[in-house]
Structure formats: structure tokens, C-alpha cells
Amino acid sequence: MASLELTGIQKAFGATQVLHGIDLAVAEGEMIVIVGASGCGKSTLLRIVAGLETPSQGSVRIAGREVTGLEPADRDIAMVFQNYALYPHMSVFQNMAYGLKIRGTPKAEITRRVGEAAELLGIAALLERRPRQLSGGQRQRVAMGRAIVRQPKLFLFDEPLSNLDAKLRVQMRAEIRRLQRRLGVTSLFVTHDQTEAMTLGDRLVVMHAGHAAQVATPMEIWARPADTYVAGFIGSPAMNFLEGVLVEGGRAVLLRAGPVLHFADGPRAGPDGQRLIIGIRPEHMRRDPEAGLGLALDLVEPLGSETVLHGRLPGGEALTAKLHGAVPAAGGALRLAIPAAELHVFDAASGRRLDAGP
């Protein structure tokens, strides 16, 4: 039985359709990361699960129970907000105890559970403080603590790390992951940060313009992106896209930049002359002083162990390459090869991925 099940979730604010039918089944204990650019509808989706918004259509089931029309209070969920949303007039202890108190939990039990959660999060010494006396990282922990003392069926995270500085963010990210594993609570985590998404999620939902563009494990999304949007969104630096047409009965592509590349994994179904977009990740580019494509460099970014090169191909298309070690950018040009085994093939018209036909 799925721990969380979304069926055909649609949401419109007035005439603006923000969600166009999202389906998702989340297994018990799974951590799902919803990732997308701002305005893609990811926060709205989370708020619908929380019960803070009502879907225009579709249903939400939590632990097998239909909750679509229920108040947030009746859904047995906990949420960590981007700005933490701590109660400013309550101490840390009261903040964490509030939900339990409302449910009529006995006092001794409240003290024990808050104590345990505070211990787990390393905030036991702060219980008497007010939120304004805490640092950003500490507030974040209190918000987490408030969520876990309730022992809910579902954790919801709404960009909880985006108000932290870079170092703390990496630390909290690992901590959230460890905690979630340990408690085994099904979680939904919304972020716009792809690194966060890749490192946290058992599976990712990449949202684009109100659709779930792809739902898969981080590695699968990286290795086999479903369309050009996902391909460009996940991975840093972003994937290169080159124009080309299908030739030789679907066995190769003729790039606008010149060369013909033969697909390593077999022919694509489609008429010769079909317009394609070929994706190639910057880190897959290789130096090839003899047969490579000429790249006129306009920016070199040395990062120590590797170097990121930005330039233009003969056809004028932009290309980024990430190469190991230092790269002597003599003369402002470089010859690079595109390994056929690393190509991602997309249909130019629909943007969908084209896999090798059977």
C-alpha cells in the first residue's frame, strides 16, 4: 500500500492553471524530492498534500485514507516551512509541544517526547529560549523538532534549507537525510536546488510548467532524462544541446556543426531528415587534437581539479565542456570530440527523449 497517493491533481487559480494532473505514488518510508524552477507548481502541490490548498480536481490519499476534503489538522502530517514559521511568543519547548498539547497528550509524555527530539537534534540546551534568540540553523532544528515530536504519517518540507548559508545548508541536508532514514517516515521535500534534490531523494519528481516531467531515481534522471527540460535542469554545468537531423536510416545524426555521429546503442525509429536535438553533458566531452570539432573559446573557468570551458562551435552553437586538469587555452581554440556512447537523443519538435528502437 502506498503511503501517499496523488491521483490526477489539478489546480487552477482563477483562469491560471498551475497543475495539470499530477499522479504520484510514494512508498512507505520513501523520500521524494519535488524539484523545479520557481513557478512550476511544486509548492502548490505540497500545499495541496498538506491541505492548505484544495485541488480543483483529483484526490489525495495518505496511508490509504482519502484526505482530499480534510483540514490539515486531520491529515496527520507535519510540515517544515521555508521561514520555519516558529511561534514567536513561545519558547522552544512550547513550540515543539504545541501540536501534542492540542491533541491532549499527557504532560509527562509531552516532556519525554520533546526531550527525546531535542536530544536527537542537539537543541536540548535551547528549550527555554525564544525563537528570536536562536540562529538560523537552530531555528531550522526547532522546526524539524516540532515536526518529529508529533510522529506523523508524512513529513512535508517546503524549501527548508534555502534560508541557510551554503555551509550550513550542506550540513543540514545530510542531517535531514540521516534523520529521515532513521525515523523511516515518508517524506515529500520541495526544492529548486538540483544538488539538494539529487542528494536527498530516493526518487525525484521534476516539475515543469505544472506537469511532472519525470519521476525517477536521481541516477536515472541524470542518465536518461525524459525530455530536454529535465536534461537541461539536472546536471551542472547544464547539458549541451546541438541541432541535427536523423540520417542513414536512423543509425546516425548529422550535426549542424558538421560531423556525422553514429548512435552507439542502435538506430532510432524515424524518417531520415527528422529534426533532432542531441544532448551531451559537458563532463563527457573529450579532447581530440586531430579529429575533434573546433571550439572557439570565450571563457575558461579553472576549478582546480577540472576546468570548465565555454565557447562556440563552427556553426555558431554554444558549447560547454568540463575537462580534467588544467587546460592550456592557447590561441583561444581547442579541438573536442563528442563520444557517441554518451549521446542523448531528443525529438526536436516535442522535446521528448528518443530511445534506440527494438
Binding site: 498538506a50 514559521a85 501540536g99 528570536r132
Partner: protein
């Protein structure tokens, strides 16, 4: 970083401050000084002889049963005006804070009473509650409830309380609405997810977070009820029937203008002045400490 402009000499700064200082001197310091001076003097009924009497005027005022009755009236009146004006305003602000159709119209209409002059407000309520020409007054009498605020002191008090509170609701409403809107939405959502129903949410989260606003308004409303309701009382009941609606500020007027007992009137107004200063001090002291976020 604070930018400080430093003037050479004192002429220019004094000139720039002059309008404000002049207003303060002419309309506050001078009359206040005159009142304090007057309060230690006693004049005969024709104003021919004036005699220095020290604190005797104060002694007489404080033991006078009529003054004590007016003080009690003021207490009842102020407490009732402040609580009812604030309760109604808070209720309306909570309603206006929800996303409702026509919220802007609703807010604008609610702010109007503040722009109505006290005497006009009084006449408006008079038209409603007058026993023979008032809409509600007549209806009450026809329904068998004897209503005549010109005879019944309790009813008169109720009427001045309603009229005074009504005028202050707008002011309170604006502050409460601003206070409500400054509470982060996510805090309320967190409370909802924590399981708190709207009523519980209001009393455990919204109301405590409004406490600085509430405290500020409490002081402002008390000051209003103490000092700014003269017009309403004067136009509605003239302090009557008997002395049923005579508050301290009204008594100052009666004593000074009608009875021409200037010494006593001045002493009473000095007492009121001390009261308002005390209230302001309390307000500033507390507001600084009570803001907890």
C-alpha cells in the same frame, strides 16, 4: 549608520523648531501653566478678589462626593468604551482579514465613523435612540421596554458608551487589521497543521501575537474615553439625567464654565493632566518591554 547634521550656532535650529515650539507653548504649556496657577487660587463669585489658597482646592475636590461620583462614572464609562470598542474592532478586523468578497469596500466603510465629528456622531445616535423620534427608541417603547435615556441614568450611560465606542471602533479596526496582517501566514498554517482549529488558533497564536497592538490600543482608548468624549456626552445627555453621565472631563467644564468656580475647575483639570501623563508613561514603558518578537 545615522547621519547627524551639526549646525553652527543656535539661530538656525531655533528658527526651524520655532513653529512646533510656538504651537506647544501657546496651546499646551501656557494653558497648562495657567491651569496649575489657577488651581492654587480662589476667586469670589464676581471675580473681584483672588486669594492664594495652596492645595486647598485639591483637598476640596478629592473629598467632594460629587467628584468621586464623577470619577466612578468615568471609570465605568472608560472601561466599557475601551473594551467594547476594542472587542468589536478586533472581531471586525478578523473578519476583514479573511479573504472575502468586497473586502476593500468593507474596510473603507468601517473607517468612515472616524471621520465623523463627535457632535454629529451624537446627533446620529440621538436620531436612533430618542424615545419619541428615534427609530430604535420608538421600537423599544412599542415593544414594551420602557426606554427614555432622559429619565433613566443607566440607559443614558449605555447610550453615551455606545456612541463613544462606535466612534473609536474605526481607529482600533485599522490598528488591529494592520496587526493581523503582520502575522506571517506560515505561522498560522503551521498551527493549522499542528492541529489547532480556528478558535484555538486565534486564542493561542493570533491573540498573543497581537498583544503589543492590544496594549497600545488599550491606552489610546482609555485616554480617548477620559478626554475626547466631551463632545458626545455634551450633545447627547449634557451629563444628565441628574449627574448620571457626568465624567471627570465633563465636570471640569460644568465647574469652570457653568458654575464659574475657576479654582476647583483648574484643580480638577490638573488632576486629569497628571492622569494622562501617567498613562502615557505607562504606555511607553510597557510597549518597549512587551514586544516579544
Amino acid at each position: 549608520m545615522r547621519k547627524k547634521v551639526i549646525f553652527k550656532g543656535v539661530a538656525l535650529p531655533l528658527l526651524l523648531l520655532a513653529p512646533q515650539l510656538a504651537i506647544t507653548c501657546v496651546f499646551f504649556l501656557w494653558p497648562a501653566g495657567a491651569a496649575i496657577w489657577q488651581s492654587v487660587l480662589q476667586q469670589d463669585a464676581w471675580g473681584l478678589r483672588t486669594e492664594f489658597v495652596g492645595l486647598r482646592n485639591f483637598e476640596e475636590v478629592l473629598v467632594d462626593p460629587a467628584w468621586r461620583e464623577a470619577a466612578w462614572n468615568t471609570l465605568v464609562f472608560s472601561a466599557a468604551v475601551a473594551t467594547s470598542a476594542m472587542a468589536v474592532a478586533l472581531f471586525l478586523a478578523v473578519q476583514a482579514d479573511k479573504s472575502i468578497r468586497g473586502a476593500n469596500l468593507y474596510k473603507t466603510l468601517l473607517i468612515w465613523p472616524y471621520a465623523v465629528a463627535p457632535a454629529v456622531a451624537a446627533v446620529l445616535w440621538l436620531f436612533l435612540f430618542h424615545p419619541s423620534i428615534g427609530l430604535i427608541g420608538r421600537a423599544l417603547n412599542q415593544a414594551g421596554i420602557l426606554w427614555d435615556y432622559k429619565l433613566n441614568g443607566g440607559q443614558a450611560m449605555l447610550l453615551v458608551i455606545i456612541a463613544s465606542a462606535w466612534k473609536q471602533v474605526s481607529y482600533n479596526f485599522i490598528f488591529f487589521l494592520a496587526g493581523l496582517q503582520s502575522i506571517p501566514r506560515s505561522v498560522l498554517e503551521a498551527a493549522a497543521i499542528d492541529g489547532a482549529r480556528p478558535t484555538r488558533r486565534f486564542w493561542t497564536v493570533v491573540f498573543p501575537l497581537l498583544s503589543p497592538t492590544t496594549f497600545f490600543l488599550l491606552v489610546v482608548n482609555l485616554v480617548y474615553a477620559f478626554f475626547d468624549t466631551f463632545g458626545v456626552i455634551h450633545a447627547l445627555t449634557g451629563g444628565g439625567p441628574g449627574k448620571a453621565t457626568e465624567t471627570l472631563i465633563y465636570k471640569v467644564y460644568v465647574e469652570g464654565v457653568q458654575n464659574t468656580n475657576l479654582g476647583s475647575s483648574a484643580a480638577q483639570s490638573v488632576i486629569l493632566m497628571v492622569l494622562v501623563i501617567a498613562m502615557t508613561v505607562v504606555q511607553f514603558r510597557f510597549i518597549e518591554r512587551r514586544v516579544h518578537y
